[in-house]
Symmetry: C2
């Protein structure tokens, strides 16, 4: 199994993607929100790139079935039901609901890799379940950190490295690209204090400055759910 | 001083570049060749993206003044004087000569960042001299690993991290992006056995398979020269 990590969130060639399992990661906070929301019983998540599109799309569904969530500048969008803190996505609020989500980096990333053979949403919350599912699928793997407005993001790279570790631990023969090897080294550096990677990161510092530091500790929890979110036909559902 | 590393060799925005010192790094092997060739007395180096252009350009200079060097598929180009092994670029061969160089990654990288305020060529061979020069220039810094045909390259990232270390050691206040921090962690991982980063890298393995493994040990030598190559108006000369 060939394992690669794309450190900057540029759309890879569709031809390459069709032969790979792709794991999108936006630790702070889109994929952490998605994994947590599905674990709390959300029926499905529609990731959209812009907020106007999200508002229009919400109107096409029956009243009471759908919640609008997401952020711009890390803050809840005006007129939306929920922001982008995973702790807002509790069972009482989201169970049985459709979520329409739009965020700065993460929701766009799913559309960048939409030609992937299988597209999963990874986070620290479900990394072991994702590693297991990638091995079951048996395809070459592209880990796709969403980055921070086009820039490299430390916390996403560390999570990619933890997924590399999860796959290596299974003992299957694995061929790592330089980027996969580097992600693994970055994970090892923070293995015993993951939250530190989030605190040191540029995006983590911004969230702390906005009073959203609690989200860092939440998103740094590992393997608290075995939910495997799958993106297909524009919708994310639990496998 | 703001220090960033661009992990994938996509052209950054010219507007951003005009305010930064840019250090191009292609450890295996273009910038190692450039640094070594200048240390052996080469007068100047013209980096060009393609071999046909290189052949045409060479014809515009008086006979005996100019040597053609470079590689395709890591091998010397037909009709060229020199390949891309730094050990070919000895005093007896290159002293006083103009070199026209074309390689798969490194020579292109200089043209990608040509709007940089100051553009330097870095390698393990001259990392301390480059760190010193970056501090003298005092501008924000963009470290630009040339990568491996568009992919992340481990050895270039480790060299970028060693340059970050060189700058941190001077004690000047420095603001690291996530990418600069990651490069620094990667350097620390290989600090006491740099050649191992080159041996583990995808491009290093290819060179070993082609019988060019000796170049890895050569390019992993640190601070053997204080040459600072500067790229301006299409030509690289020692500062």
């Amino acid at each position: 199994m060939h394992v690669d990590v794309q450190f900057l969130p540029f759309p890879p060639s569709p031809d390459l993607l069709t032969r790979r399992t792709v794991v999108v990661m936006d630790i702070l906070r889109a994929t952490s929100v998605m994994v947590h929301a599905l674990s709390q019983g959300a029926a499905e998540i529609i990731p959209l790139a812009n907020s106007e599109e999200a508002l229009q799309r919400a109107k096409t569904f029956p009243t009471g079935t759908t919640l609008l969530g997401g952020e711009r500048g890390s803050r809840k969008i005006e007129g939306f039901d929920l922001g982008n803190s995973p702790t807002e996505y509790v069972f009482e609020r989201v169970s049985g609901k459709r979520l329409i989500l739009t965020t700065t980096n993460g929701t766009k990333a799913f559309h960048s890799v939409s030609s992937g053979r299988e597209i999963l949403a990874g986070s620290f919350l479900n990394v072991e379940a994702i590693a297991q599912r990638c091995l079951e699928l048996g395809q070459d793997l592209l880990l796709f950190p969403s980055g921070d407005e086009g820039r490299f993001s430390l916390e996403d790279a560390v999570c990619a490295g933890m997924l590399v570790e999860g796959i290596l631990k299974k003992g299957r023969p694995v061929d790592l690209t330089d980027a996969a090897r580097a992600a693994h080294i970055l994970f090892k550096e923070f293995e015993n204090h993951l939250v530190e990677a989030l605190r040191l990161s540029n995006h983590g510092k911004d969230l702390i400055a906005l009073g959203l530091g609690g989200d860092l500790a939440f998103c740094a929890q590992t393997d608290v759910t075995d939910i495997v979110p799958v993106f297909a036909d524009g919708v994310i559902r639990a496998h």
